[in-house]
């Protein structure tokens, strides 16, 4: 199968869906040239640097029969548009009693590892999850990205897509044929029986790398990528933990009130799953610090394969640690 990167996959998703539906508009502060050439300046609109205005304009367009893709670029820029996203896009369907539909896709780039420091390296989806009314997708590869974006572009609700900066250029097999990926369907990337690793976004790579190494050591790890956070495929996680009895959630976002906390609260709140737990569920998350610029600190602030392995040893009740072993 051909391989393309996330950037290309995202572009194709938009192209395909914009061809299907001419009442679609794209907005961003820069001009995506491929889209402009194909769909023209009426639909592919360059905006001023004024995120609140165009995130809000997407709502008015939605309420008037148009579907809009807003590419905010870095997730940190969404903070100036928070009122339109949290107070309006998220609530407007409900507040008005469901009388209109609001199909909007907000795309934004997340993640550390690019030397972007505290503002430009964030992974803020947990706070979006705390706002009812937004669907949230978190693709970890080009295949999922394309399929989920295409679904988002047929969804009648505001969707926020969080796309990791370090995944943008990563090649991945993506078929030429059309496909969609439904929301709320986790992907069990690797089967295992000893430990369930739920990994989000780029952390899927770290989880898989850890699983590889652990396999050598005889530990069988199941790796689950929820792919969408709202809706969340709880059942897939429950099922796996019922089987393995051990859970490690790997997430780059800050720990406090993060997605990992939610997943653990769901798992421990479910009687049959709770009963199956053989060890305390563990979180391997970004530290509760703003992301620092300098590489040694930046690296330390986010999870990696070694930290994942340590957490697995821990839930397996093994008294070793990668770091200790290496030093």
């Amino acid at each position: 199968m051909r391989e393309i990167n996330c950037e290309q996959a995202g572009l194709e998703a938009i192209q395909e869906e914009f061809r299907r539906n001419s009442k679609t508009v794209h907005m961003s502060t820069d001009m995506p040239l491929e889209l402009l050439q194909e769909f023209g300046p009426d639909r592919i609109r360059m905006t001023p640097i004024a995120e609140n205005s165009f995130c809000g304009a997407a709502i008015g367009l939605a309420g008037s029969g148009y579907r809009t893709v807003v590419n905010l670029r870095m997730a940190t820029f969404s903070f100036v548009a928070m009122d339109q996203i949290f107070n309006h896009a998220a609530k407007i369907t409900y507040m008005f009693g469901g009388q209109a539909k609001f199909p909007i896709l907000y795309r934004m780039t997340i993640g550390a590892g690019i030397g972007g420091a505290a503002e430009h390296s964030i992974s803020p989806y947990p706070m979006y999850m705390n706002v009812p009314g937004l669907k949230i997708i978190l693709p970890s590869n080009a295949y999922d990205l394309k399929g989920l974006l295409k679904t988002a572009l047929r969804e009648n609700n505001p969707v926020v897509s969080f796309e990791h900066a370090l995944l943008g250029g990563v090649q991945y097999p993506v078929p030429e044929e059309e496909y969609l990926i439904p929301f709320g369907q986790a992907s069990v990337i690797r089967k295992g029986k000893d430990v369930t690793l739920v990994a989000l976004s780029k952390m899927v790579q770290e989880a898989l790398a850890a699983a590889d190494e652990l396999k050598q050591e005889g530990i069988s790890v199941e790796v689950i990528d929820p792919r969408t956070l709202v809706p969340l495929d709880k059942e897939a996680i429950f099922k796996s933990v019922r089987k393995t009895g051990r859970l490690v959630v790997v997430d780059e976002a800050c720990q406090t009130c993060g997605a990992a906390a939610e997943i653990i609260a769901l798992v421990t709140g479910q009687k049959t799953v709770f009963a199956a737990l053989k060890a305390t569920p563990a979180r391997v998350t970004g530290l509760d610090v703003p992301i620092p610029f300098s590489p040694p600190m930046e690296k330390f602030a986010i999870p990696d394969k070694n930290k994942v392995m340590d957490a697995v040893y821990e839930v397996m009740g093994m008294k070793i640690s990668v770091k200790k072993a290496e030093s």
């Binding site: 508009v25 205005s53 809000g56 997407a58 008015g60 309420g63 008037s64 469901g98």
Partner: protein, 321 residues
């Protein structure tokens, strides 16, 4: 500009409908029959009536927290408005919105809203849809002097300007945001200095004279429908009631000022004018009022007869299908 007696009667009727609807709300509030935050439009009726007389059903508007007048003038159903304010299942929003969040998308009323200035960005999208649709559709956004202080105001003026959106900015300058005078809060002092800076056509008019508003809006709407870009209309007015209906909220505006403005009541003034001009007889006026009052009464009855939502209804409408 000649306004026909029919148009005059319509303007009067719209204003009076808003007035009587709002007066009834004051009564309901005082009798503790309605709850939540209810922002009265009394004193400002000429603006909604004069502007929206030029709007078609396919034109879209975005309102703000003081939105009942815009709903009525855009043709919303008073029964469903009242039911919403009463929190009934039959209300426009099934009781989920209340007074601050009435909308009727079927008539192009994209909603009232509780965040100062937040309707401005949304209206940009409504105006862009009108532009993309072609067919000379237009959009309007209503907002107060207070909203002109938020950053969204600037962003909206700017985007409307560069995209030449068919958007009518209607600034309802009632001179205060809660208890704070715009003379304190706005460095520009004259609000139209701001749209002027963005090369947006603008005009400031007496918002208590419905024909003045009507004529200014006519020119503005023509400009918009011709695709010449956005237009900014400042309507100078005054709110009669407290910021929202409340027993505890203080009203710190000078009492004499309020009294002065009450003398400039847009509804009574116009009623007198039309009577004197022979457009409406007292009998006709009484008949109009009676009919409106009946509608208002009917709306209240409709609301009271309607069921409250079931508690579990709270779980619906988070997402559309």
């Amino acid at each position: 500009m000649a306004i026909s007696p029919k148009e005059q009667t319509a303007l009067y009727t719209t204003m009076q409908t808003i007035r009587l609807f709002e007066e009834r709300l004051v009564k309901e509030f005082l009798e503790n029959k309605i709850s939540g935050f209810v922002h009265s439009y009394i004193g400002e009726e000429a603006i909604a009536a004069g502007v929206l007389a030029h709007f078609k059903k396919t034109d879209r508007i975005v309102s703000h927290h003081r939105g009942h007048g815009h709903c009525i003038a855009k043709g919303a159903d008073m029964k469903r408005m009242m039911a919403e304010i009463y929190g009934r299942k039959t209300g426009y929003c099934k009781g989920k919105g209340g007074s601050m969040h009435i909308a009727d998308f079927s008539i192009g009323m994209l909603g009232a809203d509780g965040i100062v200035g937040a309707g401005l960005p949304i209206s940009l999208g409504a105006a862009l849809s009108a532009q993309l649709d072609g067919q000379n559709k237009i959009a309007a956004v209503f907002f107060g002097d207070g909203a002109c202080q938020e950053g969204e105001f600037h962003e909206a003026l700017n985007l409307a300007s560069i995209w030449k959106l068919p958007l009518l900015f209607v600034c309802e300058n009632n001179q205060y945001g809660v208890n704070t005078s715009y003379r304190y809060s706005l460095g520009a002092q004259e609000i139209t200095r701001m749209p002027e800076a963005y090369h947006i056509q603008n005009k400031s008019v007496d918002g208590n004279d419905v024909e003045v508003v009507y004529e200014a809006a006519a020119r503005a709407v023509e400009y918009l429908r011709n695709g010449q870009g956005p237009y900014f209309l400042e309507c100078f007015t005054y709110r009669w009631h407290k910021h929202y209906l409340s027993n505890s909220l203080p009203d710190l505006r000078p009492q004499e000022e309020l009294e002065e403005w009450k003398k400039k009541c847009p509804v009574t003034a116009y009623e007198n004018k039309l009577r004197q001009a022979g457009v409406l007889t007292q009998t006709r006026i009484d008949a109009i009022k009676t009919r409106i009052l009946e509608h208002v009464e009917e709306a209240v009855r409709f609301a009271l007869d309607s069921p409250l939502p079931a508690p579990q209804d709270a779980l619906e409408d988070v997402f559309s299908k």
